[in-house]
Amino acid sequence: MFDGGWRVGVTVLAAVGMLHAPIAAQSMRTVTTSRQITSRDEVRVSVAYGAGRFTVRSLDDGLLYRMNLTYDEDIYEPVAEFSGNRLVLGVDSRRGGVRLRGHREGELALELGRGVPMRLDLDFGAVQADIDLGGLQLTALELTTGASESTIDVSSPNRARIGTARFEVGAAEFTARRLGNLNADRIEVDAGVGSITLGLDGSWQRDARVSIDMGLGALELRVPRGLGLQIRKDSFLTSLDSEGLVKRGDTYESLDWAEAQRKVTVDLDAAFGSVKVVWVR
């Protein structure tokens, strides 16, 4: 397939990219921005970050947020806008072009205040994300990631209740821990290609539903013993390692499903790949 024409095309595209690459050395800038809590009303927080390292933590000293951002000022500019009850954070592209040489990774370290209820919308691309949502008051959560390596942890219980938490994962290695602490009625995971690990540990306040739509990849469900688990599988070419589960009709259930204090139903729609259930203490 890669005969002369293709090679020429690829070379031209690469050359165009090189032309856009700034010749000058990379100029990194550091921005620290924070805001006090001025109202206890719910805040809608949107965070967008393209590439680099991305961390999220909670903080508890009267601040709505604190953001430390290191970025290439030739390419990006910081965004920190608060208007009404809407907070927009992250970086925005200053102009087109891709830096191909001497690239140094940027970093966004975000701390969000525990004292205010939040609808949180995280959107990041090719990043290495380490996110701990523990202790926040989340009333809604939407997380969208592209080609990233992401770890989401909910280290302590959410102090508010979420209707539906959504995770949209592109081509990524995605790990979510202690999802029970999210205090969500429903969790939706829409994964494209990659490796997904979902930890269903944590403190479940009520029975919940987890919906997983996966294209191509491997899914590992880490389930604490004692949690009732039911899997409804609708898949094309997907294998299920159903250790510790018993098949009843079209569903797989944990042995203690009937008497479990908290029950989680997983609706699994997968095309190609493997699904593994790992029981943890």
Binding site: G17, T30, V31, T32, S34, T38, S39, N68, H103
Partner: protein, 525 residues
């Protein structure tokens, strides 16, 4: 009092409240309280510039920037600096502290900042101006309202936050303060007791306070937040207006009327909700009626003609599709030239092979697209190509399918031209565009037939059969075409070179037998 007067008086009253509260809060040992409350900060440090941007609780801003040799305060230049010199270093050091500080301590640090020792000349002057700018910027506004009455508050910041916290609250405050005269006695965030023998000769404003009235208030009372008790024997000469406030006990007398601002708002909200739900109910009923009418085939003048209208519409759709594809075909023939011939030839000579290749390609399209994208992402050089790959690959696949389909249509047109079917005499093989159009009509004939048959009653099954056959023919044509495009590398490689010699080609074209005798130079026909 007119609304405009209330609105104009409101900021003054708010300022009085805030300033009064601030004055009470100010004491020599509490220096932090002398600075403005910082609600937002941004510290930005780069190679060529270093800036600090503050937003205060009163809505004010302060921005100090060292950039390209100029020192700017709120966008105005106050002098210049030498990058890397003492002043620049001192400023960056201050920003280093500011990163870790918020609100009071931050404002305090800025106020306490002073020019570095050892500076002389112009840098010293600029540092002095910067020092003054910082002090002026973070210093709290002094109370100047002569109308400020006796007030008390433990927390000026809380009062300001409470007052400016939300638009809705300000609206309620505005309503509650209607009729309050300037010079009113104001209390905020404290316990207030009007004793049994005490008489307040003015209006009384209570903000988020816990108040007990045992004596008399001659004017109006406005309570915003907090609680209010009117004990036995107490009296209010004017009105009592409550905004988000709770009246715990009402054993006193109110001269005019009791107004609950929040209650008014709630009533209005309830009315709006009721109106909205009525409107939704009416809308649902209307929709339901329409739905039931259409489902039950309710009486309509056009009802008998519906199948005909639908059928004619379908035929028109088919004709438009043929027209659009013919336009694309003209462009393909004009720009594709011989490549289209090569694709058509491959499809004609080995339709089975082309169909298999096309089907395999259809199945593999999405995996190849995804895997190609991932493979390109692996290398940095591949990232821009990967970005182009995402939209261009599906686009290329669509173009290949359309071009292939048109090539098959051309073959179909040629076949129809050679056939003895009626209505095919207009297809001339000498004109590739006409041949293609003829082929398109042929390929879509089953759809046209399905639409025509659908106009007649009781022939739904036949319509379905025609439609299914049309879909099969179209899918086959697309797969054969796509396969031919792939086999010929988009028409750049001949899959089958012509097996004809020049004479055999003549024979095939003329449908005659040719016997050539080179030695005699004669031809027998």
């Amino acid at each position: 009092m007119p609304v405009s007067h209330i609105r104009s008086a409101l900021p003054g009253l708010v300022l009085s409240l805030a300033a009064g509260a601030t004055l009470v809060a100010l004491t020599p040992h509490d220096a932090v309280a002398q600075v403005r409350e910082v609600v937002s900060k941004q510290v930005s440090v780069g190679r060529a510039s270093a800036s600090l941007s503050l937003e205060f609780a009163d809505g004010g801003r302060l921005e100090v920037t060292f950039e390209d040799g100029a020192v700017l305060v709120d966008g105005e230049s106050i002098g210049s600096y030498q990058p890397g010199a003492d002043l620049d270093a001192a400023w960056r050091s201050l920003l280093g502290q500011a990163v870790a500080l918020d609100d009071g301590p931050l404002a305090q640090a800025l106020r306490d900042w002073s020019a570095p020792e050892g500076l002389t000349g112009s840098p010293a002057e600029v540092a002095g101006r910067l020092d003054r700018a910082l002090e002026d910027g973070v210093r709290a506004a002094q109370a100047s309202g002569s109308q400020t009455a006796a007030t008390g508050s433990g927390d000026a910041g809380s009062l300001v936050r409470f007052l400016l916290g939300s638009g809705e609250r300000l609206r309620r405050i505005e309503e509650a303060l209607a009729g309050i005269a300037p010079g009113a006695r104001v209390h905020g965030f404290e316990d207030v007791v009007i004793g049994p023998d005490e008489v307040v000769g003015t209006d009384l404003v209570l903000v988020q306070s816990s108040t007990r009235i045992e004596g008399a208030v001659e004017g109006d009372v406005a309570a915003i937040g907090g609680t209010l008790e009117l004990l036995e024997g107490s009296s209010i000469g004017g009105s009592l207006r409550l905004a988000d406030a709770t009246l715990l006990r009402n054993e006193g007398s109110i001269g005019e009327r009791l107004v609950e601002v929040e209650a008014d708002a709630r009533e209005l909200e309830a009315e709006l909700r009721a109106e909205l739900s009525d409107e939704i109910r009416r809308e649902l009923r209307r929709e339901l009626r329409n739905e039931m009418r259409s489902e039950s085939g309710g009486f309509s003048l056009f009802a008998p003609f519906r199948p005909v209208i639908r059928g004619v519409g379908g035929v028109l759709e088919n004709l438009v599709a043929i027209f659009v594809l013919a336009l694309i075909g003209a462009a393909v023939i004009a720009f594709g030239g011989e490549k289209v011939d090569v694709i058509a030839e491959a499809a004609r000579r080995a339709p089975g092979r082309a169909a298999v290749v096309g089907m395999a390609a259809t199945v593999l399209l999405i995996p190849v697209w995804l895997l190609g994208f991932i493979a390109l992402l692996v290398s940095i050089i591949g990232i821009p190509v990967a970005i182009a790959w995402l939209p261009l690959f599906p686009l290329a696949a669509c173009v290949a399918a359309i071009v292939g389909y048109l090539a098959v249509a051309r073959n179909t047109g040629e076949w129809l031209a050679d056939s003895d079917y009626p209505w095919t005499q207009w297809i001339r093989k000498s004109n590739p565009l006409v041949t293609t159009v003829g082929g398109l009509v042929g390929l879509m004939l089953l759809f046209v037939a399905a639409n025509v048959v659908s106009m007649a009653p009781f022939l739904g099954v036949v319509t379905g059969l025609f439609m299914a056959a049309g879909i099969v023919v179209t899918v086959l044509a697309v797969e054969i075409g796509l396969g031919a495009v792939i086999l010929t590398r988009a028409g750049r490689r001949r899959e089958h070179w012509s097996a004809y010699t020049a004479d055999e080609a003549w024979e095939a074209a003329m449908k005659v037998e040719v016997d050539v005798d080179d030695t005699r130079g004669e031809t027998d026909v």
